[in-house]
Symmetry: C2
Subunit: 243 residues, 2 copies
């Protein structure tokens, strides 16, 4: 007797609700405050039912990460559709990253947890593989734009250099800036608390150093950023307070 379609739908909806509830607990009370009993209580289901969906607490965190990971991948893919020259399009991807960090600040924390060996292996491999696939999609968007730039002659790749290296550099600048922001909040450092101006400038310095044309001295990338916010991410920009 296979489960009916209606029941299947109910189960899928319940799984989404569990992830929502768990996310709320994670954001409000941190990893320690996230317990399976609390999830079950808030869901008004028994713990056993929660374990029908997830094989462990870490698996729940992996599911949270999968959800936001896919959102990020979609934001990146939308960013790549921005109309403009290749470096402007990469700028739009940067906008996507900004918006993602603003709207889903929990993602970084969940990622750190899932990445720890001992924790990762307790999550369902299907879920961790999905998370990895989402990251690949994001990385692929960046390297794709870079390959377009190479084909269009807007950037030259030196011997021994690769588009993956440059994408890694940009990725590092963004991840590092937001990591510093979180750290700065804890340290109550004013000059680190808003990383955006410095981040945007650093990314321009890096791409200028790579010789990606037009250089930041030849084009107004702040205007491009505004256009990307307006044309591609009007809703997200409003929700993030950047509109």
């Amino acid at each position: 007797m296979p489960t009916s379609a209606r029941k299947q739908r109910e189960i899928a909806e319940r799984e989404e609700r569990i992830v929502d509830v768990a996310l709320g607990l994670l954001v409000e009370q941190g990893y320690i405050g996230l317990t399976m009993d609390k999830i079950a209580a808030e869901m008004e289901y028994s713990k056993g039912t929660i374990y029908q969906h997830f094989k462990s607490k870490e698996d729940v965190v992996a599911a949270i990460l999968s959800a936001s990971g896919e959102i990020r991948a979609k934001l990146f893919e939308r960013a790549a559709t921005f109309e403009g020259h290749s470096r402007e399009r990469m700028g739009a991807v940067g906008v996507a990253a900004e918006l993602f960090y603003a709207l889903y600040p929990h993602h970084e924390q969940a990622e750190n947890l899932v990445r720890a060996h001992s924790i990762r292996e307790k999550a369902d491999s299907k879920r961790t593989e999905f998370c990895a696939a989402c990251e690949f999609r994001c990385f692929g968007v960046a390297t794709g734009i870079l390959r377009d730039a190479v084909a269009g002659g807007e950037i030259e790749i030196a011997p021994g250099q690769t588009v993956e290296q440059i994408a890694s550099g940009l990725w590092s600048l963004y991840v590092g800036a937001f990591k510093l922001r979180d750290h700065g909040r804890f340290l109550e450092d004013e000059y680190l608390s808003d990383p955006l101006p410095g981040l945007l400038r650093n990314a321009q310095m890096f791409l200028d150093g790579c010789g990606w044309k037009p250089l930041s001295t030849e084009h107004d990338y702040l205007a491009s950023r505004e256009r990307a916010l307006r044309e591609i991410f009007p809703d997200e920009a409003r929700r993030a307070g950047l509109a």
Copy 2:
């Protein structure tokens, strides 16, 4: 009746041993495998005695982080003594970061754990403040060199730009590269597994973009790196397999 000097020394030595044992467990079995009972068993002391030294399990992790954090700060401060022009000196700091990541790969994981709000607040604030102070020292080394560069006219700081921003950029490139390396290991991505060549090049691109003279086209920074390894970090380079 104050504790005798001998006893105090024994206690201090025992605390170091606890941190060592805990580090071994963390590296071998991860955060989940690190338990107070195992520490006590391996130490051949009771759990109560361990709690004489540390107020919680998270406090032990904070102590691990303190130990490697101070090592890093000392490496950075030694790097700043490198004889050369300002950008070469910053390169030596990069060498220090490379060596640190190679020799103390657990640091990143411990840092992620301690940084999580719910975990941090269970550690002794003295210890977390010490960790923060070590990071400040590292950051201060970088900004100090940058200020020297400004004073010497080797770099110009544009309006709205700060030396802290540039230091953040470099810091991000390094942290991000090693984070990608760990991630790449998990994903079994060959092209991400050795981040060093790409990292060195990316750092040069970034500093070239900042206009820090002499540019990478005007000076052989790989030779400077070799010299820093030889002159400042011969022991560490050997231990890290970079000599």
